[in-house]
Symmetry: C2
Subunit: 483 residues, 2 copies
């Protein structure tokens, strides 16, 4: 046993105390945004059966995986491994296959939708470079299953909007503004229709999307020769290799329209921008795709709708959408913008209170269809919190300053049941252990009650409350005072 | 891409929302106890070079590891793997080698001592059984390096006591009482001396300790034949195979005496019990070893002193001690005792405030040697918190009830500098961003000042404070009121 200096594996990190606090600053913000937006935390194994990844992505993925095996079997295991050309297990490169497996295993019993998040280590056998390590943390946020028996365009849009909202709540909480960060959205179905008008065949769509995804990374020459190899039509190749949006397709599909409407209700629309160049690399996306782009160049998060994946893992046909975000690119971005605290400020920021796991507010409409949109507007206000006058700004701002909020963000949920009966909605709120129940009768007619004491707060001297944070009787103030 | 049902790997867990909350309840408690006792969080890679584990434990460990390799190399990697008989990487089975590597890499710049904790996933290629999974979480708490130039028996005892204290603070916070949980301590040096009196040779000591560790797990027959195979003397075999403590050695060494003294200062002695049957399996322990034993049978945590390990990884000769605790055995114990909350109580317990990362209190003596012990006594009170009259009990109690504390536990630090000059101690407190500075002149003469405002709280109308939590002017109350 001689003294020996051994380095950490290439592309992995030794984190000393200040490094851990910096990482916790990010993972706390992830968790906080998820909880506020009503997502529940789940977790899966760090390694999985290798076949879990080949189901979805084909054999090509194996070269990008760290493969693993139990040393217990000795030489026999090694022989089997060489014969099969792969090991039994793989360190997870992403979460979505685990998520699909977990949902498929208990699809019948699980609530509809399942709103889940998770954050943990992931592994890629790639060459390490800036923003890309071999072990990194990733945050996954997903909504699986339809919220109700209502029409699916509306429900899908609602789930897409809730998933996107969660990413926006995160960016806001870290002090990033709409000027430095944009959510670029696209619709794979609309793009497929457009590609077909250019002569792309059904069985060429997958390679067409792969090339679209690489559009910004490869020179036009390489793109052209790859497209020609795949026998893609010349009008598609022309579209692909010409920069500028002059030839951009019309993206105004029903699905994207419904999503933009929903995002407008939640005041998210100013963060968003349609972009026909967004494809996302992975083959499993089926509709809406989006990417959070910092300063027009760095992709901080990406995701979309994957309506076929649960079925592929043995579950029922289930619409789903979600996104992933890594800690490395996000950490670099915060550093570059001076938005990462240090010293005592970092200590305080990491120890600051997080969103409660118990839902604080549960918002429902009074049955009048005109009030449905107000439910989403108020929910967004409560999840976002109301910033104090002195803090408000349109620029990136250090978010750890004290007195940031006049009303702190709160964990807020809505009902996904199709019923409009107040008693059934109250039972839903009670099943989820919500503390305050909020019934919207109109913009300035919001009734508030305490679920623990069963007291109506509106029926005492206060009368009813307002949806608008600028109104003196804003319902968020009333809840904050009673926490 | 056909639909396929794939299970999680044997011995790993899919954690749905309530499962994650139960796990968070445990990891929060780990983190909280660590922070309160002044340990800083660190983290290492999830996989390491395989050689990191053979340095310390020899080749025998390989069969217990999950080994890993990058799939990028294809057939070439597989051929190399078969030729070497092992893969380049291994999923970490324990943290100590990573810790030793991380300390050795920056030994010169790091503070003395380094008080570090970490919690994360670990992997063992063993057959899964109750309390033992192939992927589990482990909490590691370690103190590395000597606190000052003072005599090493005293300093080592202080570090051992701080490490043990951290485990006791955890058990208390989870509602476990002294009746159901005991810290069994032993001294490997004392045992080695005793074994030598029985005729055991120097080069037989390692196998002698291995057999002592298996004493409770193997029948006397098997123990005997293993001991005979190793040519151990008959008087040792007799000792090993006879149960009962009649033949127990005298454990009153200087080292163990100093540790018991230190633990008495911190009110820990009632949790502890000397036990000559504790050996700990791993070969690297060099002095004090201990095990937290629930109801006399279940080992919940284990650790000890490993003074040679940092050197083995290329660092300077450095004394060190620490322990590890897994989430599976602890979770089972809490379930069996009804000490794991559910539903809304679990949600509230998981979201309850954690110890601050910034130190709240920094306790120093006034230079009089008689007051040194009081520093440890008060520090233990502050780290433990003062329970309210209605909560106090000698039995296991559900710890998530509200109003548990009259004074909540607080993150408390002491200085490890050899100086007794108040200005230098104040600089140490300031370097660590402590909020309150506490100078002990005597049991009822405690001076308190606010480091942020530089105001002396004792010099206003309050006079000085008391070390005793039962006294009306207990210093803990004074701090809690000013938080």
């Amino acid at each position: 046993m001689a003294s020996k200096k051994i380095n950490p594996p290439k592309g992995t990190r030794d984190l000393y105390p200040e490094d851990v606090l910096r990482q916790r600053y990010i993972t706390n913000a992830w968790r906080d945004a998820s909880l506020r937006c009503g997502f529940d935390e789940i977790a899966g194994p760090t390694f999985e059966s290798t076949e879990l990844y080949s189901v979805k992505s084909g054999e090509g993925i194996l070269g990008e995986l760290f493969q693993a095996f139990s040393g217990k079997g000795g030489q026999e295991t090694l022989d089997k491994l060489v014969k099969k050309g792969q090991a039994d297990f793989a360190l997870r490169p992403e979460f979505t296959p685990t998520l699909a497996r977990m949902y498929a295993a208990h699809a019948k019993q699980l609530p509809k939708p399942c709103k889940w998040f998770t954050a943990g280590p992931y592994f890629r056998a790639e060459r390490p470079q800036r923003g890309r390590l071999r072990e990194f943390l990733q945050w996954n946020v997903d909504a699986i299953g339809l919220p109700s028996e209502a029409d699916s365009t509306h429900s899908n849009a609602q789930m897409d909007a809730e998933v996107i909202e969660c990413s926006v709540r995160l960016f806001e909480s870290l002090g990033l503004c709409k000027k430095s960060l944009k959510i670029m959205i696209n619709d794979r179905n609309a793009m497929a229709e457009f590609f077909k008008t250019l002569g792309v065949l059904e069985n060429q769509l997958e390679i067409a999307f792969t090339l679209l995804d690489r559009q910004a990374k490869l020179p036009a020459d390489s793109l052209k020769s790859l497209a020609e190899d795949a026998q893609l039509p010349s009008s598609f190749i022309e579209y692909l290799t010409q920069s500028g949006s002059s030839s951009a397709p019309n993206l105004l599909t029903n699905d994207l329209d419904a999503l933009i409407d929903m995002c407008t209700n939640c005041n998210l629309d100013q963060w968003m921008s349609k972009d026909p160049s967004i494809a996302r690399g992975l083959a499993y996306y089926t509709g809406t795709v989006f990417e959070a782009l910092a300063d027009g160049e760095r992709a901080v998060a990406g995701g979309g709708r994957y309506d076929n994946l649960i079925e592929l893992f043995g579950g029922p046909s289930t619409p789903a959408c979600g996104f992933g975000m890594g800690d490395v690119v996000l950490g670099n971005l915060l550093d570059d913008k001076g938005l990462m605290p240090t010293g005592a400020e970092l200590m305080d920021a990491v120890a600051s209170p997080q969103a409660s796991i118990r839902p604080v507010a549960f918002v429902v409409p009074n049955g009048d269809e005109d009030n449905e949109a107000l439910v989403h507007t108020l929910t967004a206000h409560l999840r976002r919190g109301i910033e104090s006058e002195t803090w408000l700004s349109n620029d990136d701002r250090k978010p750890w300053h004290t007195n940031r909020y006049a009303v702190a963000p709160m964990h807020t949920r809505i009902s996904y049941k199709s019923t409009r009966k107040i008693n059934k909605l109250k039972a839903d709120a009670s099943d989820q252990h919500a503390k305050f129940f909020i019934e919207i009768h109109g913009e300035d007619k919001v009734e508030l009650s305490n679920m623990d004491t069963r007291e109506s707060i509106s029926s005492d001297s206060h009368g009813s409350f307002h949806v608008d944070p600028k109104a003196p009787n804003y319902v968020g103030h009333a809840i904050a005072e009673r926490m």
